[in-house]
Every structure is written in structure tokens, then in C-alpha cells.
Amino acid sequence: MARKTVFKIFAFCLAVGVVLTALSKVFVLKTVHTGDLQEGLYLSDDSYDVVFMGGSHMNGGMDPNVLWEKHGISSFNYATGGQPIAETYHLLREVLQKHKNPVVVLDVFYLAMSDPYGDDAWISIPLDNMRFSWNKLETIRDCTPPSEWIYSLVPILKYHYRWSELTINDLFYDNSARYYAKGFGAGTNRYGKPMTAFADTEEKASIPAKNLEYLNKIIELSKSENFPLVFVNLPCDYSDTDKDEDWVDDCEALFNTVADLAEQNGIPFLDYYDKIKEIGLDFPNDMNNAGHLNVWGAGKVSAHFGNYLKQNYSLADHRYEPSYAQWWTDYRKSSAYCVLHLPVPSGV
């Protein structure tokens, strides 16, 4: 009798659990990153020689289609807005399941976030789009407060309110409007204001403990998984974030610490904040807003970074390989082609 009761309870919970899990996919909020992450993590069969990881600065700063057009480098941008470094670590582990030994380019901007978790709405974006795995469970454990675990584990409990706004796209999600961007997403706004330049400083600011822990984990991972790591900081007006309560006060001092740490570990660190003149960035015209590059700014930074990669890593040029013909089809839909008008080379 007792065994039968337990079985019935278990069967009922299982049935409800299966239905809720299936429905969760429908209810999860679909953002521009949904299509990007699904493409980069699970749908695409391409192999990427370079992967970009980090927050919104990286997402709108490095355009894989520019790297493709100029150097034939296959790359994908996995960065999403507001991504804390702990989540970047777990997302990188997810990426490495499929792509072995790529050059991993890490946006270090979010090392300055002092909140141990960050904004739930941002954290949810990678989490909601990761398939169920041990790594996902660890991501939930490390990146969300315990009171939020259940919502990350069964997303319908968080997104059930969307029942009245569901569309056919939620039922049969289609990323055809995004896949060709290879994860990159920048605006076409012109900021129009000059940068509030910060004075150079020799000061060093501590990296918040949790961020340092996960930065070290990423460094360890690069050694154990044998992939090259590059640190990048993209141009932005720090005066914006310096005002935030959950942000380190002196970003310049923090990046000095990052530079030291990179040097100690033999990791290149490209701080584009200091290279604005070198790459010819026109802040008012090449920024989408105070913190993010626009399509034109990203084009300049990506072109510079492509040159850097070509000079320092032996990356294959896939442009003329027949198996990469689809990349040119994708390229013709990209902002690099449609907005920057970078030409398609002859003979491809």
C-alpha cells in the first residue's frame, strides 16, 4: 500500500515535471541573444577558431563577420549583456564542449562589478538558453542567489506571466533572423558626445573577490584545456558606471590590476580604452551610447583586433575553402556587408 502510494506520488510529480520542462521552452523570454546562443552553442555545425566571451561591450564590439571578411577567421561572439564573470566561466565551459582549443577573447569589463550576482534579467539570458547539464546546474548554483534557483531550474515558474503574450514564434522558435550575425549585436545610433577622459593612474584597485576567483578559474581552464586566452577591454565612458553602487569606483586602477595579473600569467591584454587614437576611433560617431560601440566603431575595433590575431596566432584563412561557402552567404546578410559595405572578395 505504502509502496503504491509512493509510486503514485512519484509518477504524478514526474508527469507534472515533464510537462513543465517541455512548456518552459515555450515560455522562456526570447531576446536577440536567444537566437545567437542557440546558434553558437547547439545549432551550428561550424567550428570556431576564435570565440568572444563577456558582456554587452564585447557583444557589440567584436564583429565575427569583419574578421571573416578581412582575414577568413571563423569566430563567434558569445557575449551577452550584463554577463558576470562567473557566468562567463560556465558559458565558456559550455562552448568548449563543442569547440576545442579556440582562441578565447575575454571582455574584462565586468570584473569591475561588485555585486556578487548582478541583474537577474541579464543573468537569465545565457542560463535560459543553456541545455540541461551538470554545467547548467553549476551555473545556477554559482550565478544566482539560492532564492532564485528554482526559477532558473524550471523557467516556466519565472516566465508563466507570458501566457497572454505568447506568439507562434514562442512555440516554434526560429533564429533565421539572427544566425548570420554570429552572435554580434551593435546599434546604429551615433552617441554624439565626447568621452569623459580619465586621467592615467598608477593606482591599483582590487578585483572583487568572486570575480577574481572566476577569472583565475578561466585562467586555470585555459591551461588545463590548452586554449590561448586574450584579455580585452573595449572603449567606453567609465564615468557612467563609476556612479553605480555595485561597481568598482576607479576602473582605470582596476584595469591596472588586470594588466598585472595578465602579465603574471603570460596573457595578452588589449585595452582599447588606451588605443582609441591608434585605431582612429571617433568617440561621438563610433559609439552607440556612453558604454557601447556602434556598428562603425565595432568595425574599426574588429579590424584592428583581426590584424592582431593574424599577427600573433596561426589561424587558418577559410575564405576560399569550399566548405565555408555558407559563411559568405551569411556575410551578405550581416551589418559588415549591409552597413559598413565591406566588399566580398572576388573568387569566393
Partner: protein, 494 residues
């Protein structure tokens, strides 16, 4: 730890499982520990006041019994003295937390009326959760023991469990000691059929609270947060929605509490019997918050003389009981006005009764005619709902403003979509209306028959399909979670 929280969904099965696993003689200890943990999950320090109330009334019970055995003629005096101390201490604690600022303000206002300027200090004490409910529970124990209706409980632990029993701690039902205390001495074994019935009751409670009450609450909050900006239909819909929000919130809470009791083997008292089907205000109070009404009946209305006195005194008794009832709900003039209005309804009802009876006779109206019952129920609902304005408004002045705005009618509100801009989109609004219809339909179908029994006698496929669909309905259409927000139970504030 609210009933509507994942913590409770882990807490309750764990408590239940261990309750039936551990030996009978230790079970009350386990329930007591669980109840105190449950209480302290809100805030730890008020547990001192809970314990203080428990000890005072427990000691009072023992001393009352001891005094009753005396034969030197002082028994009555001593019993009265013990009861007075017990009542004064508990009402004192309740007043300190709930009414100190209110009476201070009232004092200042009275002084000002006589031309004396005196500003009373504001203490802003946060009342321990469920204080009004557990205080009434201990007071009923003290009075039952004094009257000899219940024997004193010798075991402090078991008495403490009666006071703090977690399913009923936050918002009742307000059990009387003579009915509930003996149940802690009973041996309960796990009964699957009883557990199924309890779970169904809990399910229904969650549906009422999460799908209906909290959804309606969004529109109600929008209207009542800015009474100066809403008129006519908006206020009317907000007030009708509040009537159902409050009912679904409190009946939902009571069903979860009673379902939990039933699973554990306890028989709790029903708090609601389809109150909005009442055909008079008097009947309404026999169907709404029954355990509170019964408390006031036993311990205030009857001791005041009830209706076995002059008409004037009867009317005054009714007014006194309902004003205290209003004050019990909250330390504000608007609650007093709400209570007074209900008292007034009843007094006017008494005065009009002879004329009403004569008119019904002359018009040859059959009391049992469906249309007549529907009209009476409709009129009662209008009166009750009108009074809810005072209950819900943030103060007396806001209530008056809302009533004034209620009669500034803009017919365009029927078709220009105004109603869908009050915190609920059109689909959410209609979902709320469907929720009300479902609650009303279940109430209607439940007249004179046990719906749970009917459901459990159906085939397995039907039962499983309905249960799974119900869980999914609560998960999908419920209002909870980090984005859509989750409300505490309204009555837990009292």
C-alpha cells in the same frame, strides 16, 4: 514563510512525513518545533511575545482550575482575578503592537478638539505575524476554562502547540480550545483517502489565492492607490474585484490551512460558507469568517446581553460588537467605519423587518422564489461591497473620496479600454473574470454536496487529468514569482 512559497512546499511535506514516521508520543513535540520554526521564519524576536501569551494563559488556566476547587467562598473572586490578569496582559500586548499609535493619534485629535495641542509620539511597532489570531485563541482558552467549558491543559508544550499550530497560526481559523486542544491527544495515522481530500482542499486554496485573488489584486491596487484619478466604472469594478480578491485570498488561505490540518489528521473549523450567496447581512456574518464571528458571538455579544434585552440595548450591542470587529481588523478609522457600517446595516435591518414582512405579505412574494432569493443576495452583495470600500481604502478620507468618485460616471469607460489600463491587460482582466466565475460556479455546485467526494469517486483517468491540468493552471495562470510578483495573504496583516 508564506503558504505561497517554495519553502512551504518543502516544509509541509517534510513535517508531514516525519510526523507520521516518529512515535506517537513524540509527535506533538515535532509539531511544536515545526510551528515555532514556521513562526520564526518571519521574524525571530516576536516569538518572545507568543511564548509570553502562551505562558500567561496556561498559568491562568491552571490557577483558575485551582481556584475553582476552593470552598472558602473566594473561588469566584480568584477566578475572576486570574481571568482579568490574563485578559489584561494579552489584550495589553495586542494593543501595544497594534493600537498604540492609533490611540495616540486619537488622543491628540481629541485634545485638539478641546483646544489643547498635544502631539502623541509615534512608535511604529511592527506587530508579530498572526498576533490578532493567536491572541483571540488564547483569550478563548482563558474564558472557556473560566466558564468550565474546557478543562485546563496541564502540559505546557501541548498548550503551546495549540496556540502556535502552524497551519492556523498566521490567519486562523480561530479555533476554540474545547474543540481543538483535545485533538493533540489523539493518535493520527496516515490515511491516504484523508490525505487526498486534504490535498484537494489545498489545491483549491492555491487556485483561489494565486490565480484569482492576486490577479484581481493588481487592478484593485491600481484603483485604490490613486483614488483621486479613478471614477465611476473604474471604482465600481475595482470594488467588486476587491470583494472577490478578499474572499479568494482569505478563503484560499483557510482552505490551505484546513487541507494541511486534514492531511495531518486534525479537524479544523470551516471559515467560509459561500458568503456572497447570503440573503441578508445577518446571514453574511454566519458565512463570512465564521470562526471570528463565532468568537465575538460567544465572548462579546452574548456577555453584553445579546438580543435578550431591550431593542435599544440590542442595537447598541450589535454596534459595539461590529465596531470592535472593525478595530480588530486594523487600527484605523476606516476599519472602525467598516465595522460600524455593518452594525448599522443590522440595526436598520431589525427596524425595517416588520415593514418588510408586511410588504412581502401584501405583494404575495414567496420567500423561496428563486428570483426573490437572487434579488436579496444581490442587494446583500451591494451592501457588503459598499462597506468593503472602507476596508480597502488607505484611510477614511480616501474611502469618502472613492465613494464620491464612484458616482462620477463616464459611460465611455465601457468601451474605450480604460478598464484594461488598470494594472491588468485585456487577457489578464478576462482571466480574472473567468476566475471569479469558476469560484462562483464551484460555490454554487457545492451547495449541499461534497464536491471532493464526487471528484474522488470518478475514474482514475479523469482524476489524474484534472489534477495535472489544475497544477498546470496554477503554474501558468497563477500570479507569483520574481517578475509577476507574489502577494502575502491580506489577513496575515491583521
Amino acid at each position: 514563510m508564506s503558504f505561497v512559497s517554495f519553502r512551504f512546499l518543502l516544509f509541509f511535506p517534510l513535517v508531514t512525513f516525519l510526523y507520521f514516521v516518529i512515535p506517537q508520543k513524540f509527535r506533538w513535540i515535532w509539531l511544536l518545533a515545526a510551528s515555532y520554526y514556521f513562526f520564526m521564519s518571519w521574524d525571530a524576536y516576536p516569538v518572545l511575545f507568543l511564548f509570553l501569551s502562551t505562558v500567561i494563559t496556561w498559568l491562568g488556566g491552571i490557577l483558575t482550575a485551582k481556584a475553582g476547587k476552593r470552598s472558602d467562598g473566594k473561588a469566584d473572586f480568584l477566578k475572576k482575578a486570574v481571568l482579568a490578569v490574563s485578559l489584561a496582559a494579552n489584550i495589553g500586548i495586542l494593543c501595544t503592537f497594534k493600537y498604540l499609535d492609533f490611540f495616540g493619534e486619537l488622543g491628540s485629535w481629541l485634545c485638539a478638539a478641546f483646544g489643547v495641542q498635544a502631539a502623541a509620539p509615534r512608535f511604529g511597532l511592527a506587530a508579530p505575524v498572526g498576533i490578532s489570531f493567536y491572541t483571540f485563541r488564547v483569550l478563548s482558552y482563558s474564558m472557556d476554562v473560566y466558564r468550565g467549558d474546557a478543562p485546563p491543559e496541564r502540559n505546557l508544550g501541548k498548550y503551546a502547540l495549540f496556540v502556535s499550530f502552524f497551519p492556523q497560526l498566521v490567519a486562523g481559523p480561530i479555533e476554540k480550545a474545547k474543540n481543538f486542544l483535545p485533538q493533540f491527544a489523539e493518535a493520527h495515522s496516515f490515511d491516504l483517502e484523508r490525505a487526498k481530500r486534504g490535498l484537494l482542499k489545498m489545491f483549491w486554496g492555491y487556485f483561489e489565492k494565486m490565480v484569482v485573488a492576486d490577479r484581481l489584486g493588481k487592478l484593485v491596487d491600481t484603483v485604490y492607490a490613486a483614488p483621486q484619478s479613478h471614477y465611476g466604472l473604474e471604482v465600481a469594478v475595482g470594488t467588486v474585484f476587491f470583494a472577490f480578491q478578499l474572499y479568494c485570498d482569505f478563503d484560499g488561505y483557510s482552505n490551505i490551512a484546513l487541507g494541511a490540518c486534514e492531511i495531518l489528521g486534525f479537524r479544523g473549523s470551516e471559515n467560509f460558507k459561500r458568503p456572497y450567496f447570503s440573503k441578508s447581512i445577518k446571514e453574511f456574518w454566519k458565512r463570512w469568517h465564521i470562526t471570528l464571528g463565532s468568537w465575538f458571538w460567544d465572548y462579546l455579544y452574548l456577555p453584553l446581553g445579546g438580543n435578550r434585552c431591550s431593542k435599544l440595548r440590542h442595537g447598541l450591542n450589535l454596534m459595539a460588537v461590529f465596531i470592535v470587529c472593525g478595530l480588530w481588523h486594523g487600527a484605523a478609522l476606516s476599519f472602525v467605519a467598516w465595522g460600524a457600517l455593518h452594525g448599522l446595516y443590522q440595526v436598520v435591518g431589525l427596524l425595517l423587518r416588520p415593514g418588510k414582512n408586511r410588504l412581502e405579505k401584501r405583494l404575495n412574494i414567496r420567500q423561496n422564489a428563486l428570483w426573490f432569493k437572487a434579488v436579496r443576495a444581490g442587494c446583500t452583495f451591494v451592501l457588503v461591497d459598499f462597506a468593503w470600500i472602507f476596508f480597502r481604502a488607505d484611510g477614511f478620507r480616501q474611502a469618502v473620496l472613492l465613494i464620491r468618485n464612484l458616482f462620477r460616471f463616464d459611460p465611455a469607460a465601457f468601451w474605450n479600454g480604460t478598464l484594461f489600463g488598470l494594472g491588468l491587460s485585456a487577457p489578464e482582466f478576462w482571466a480574472g473574470v473567468v476566475g471569479i466565475a469558476v469560484v462562483a460556479a464551484v460555490g454554487f455546485l457545492g451547495r449541499g454536496r461534497d464536491l471532493r467526494e464526487s471528484f474522488l469517486s470518478r475514474g482514475r483517468v479523469f482524476r489524474w487529468t484534472v489534477c495535472t491540468a489544475s497544477v498546470l493552471a496554477i503554474v501558468i495562470f497563477g500570479v507569483y514569482g520574481p517578475i509577476s510578483g507574489s502577494g502575502q495573504f491580506i489577513y496575515s496583516q491583521f
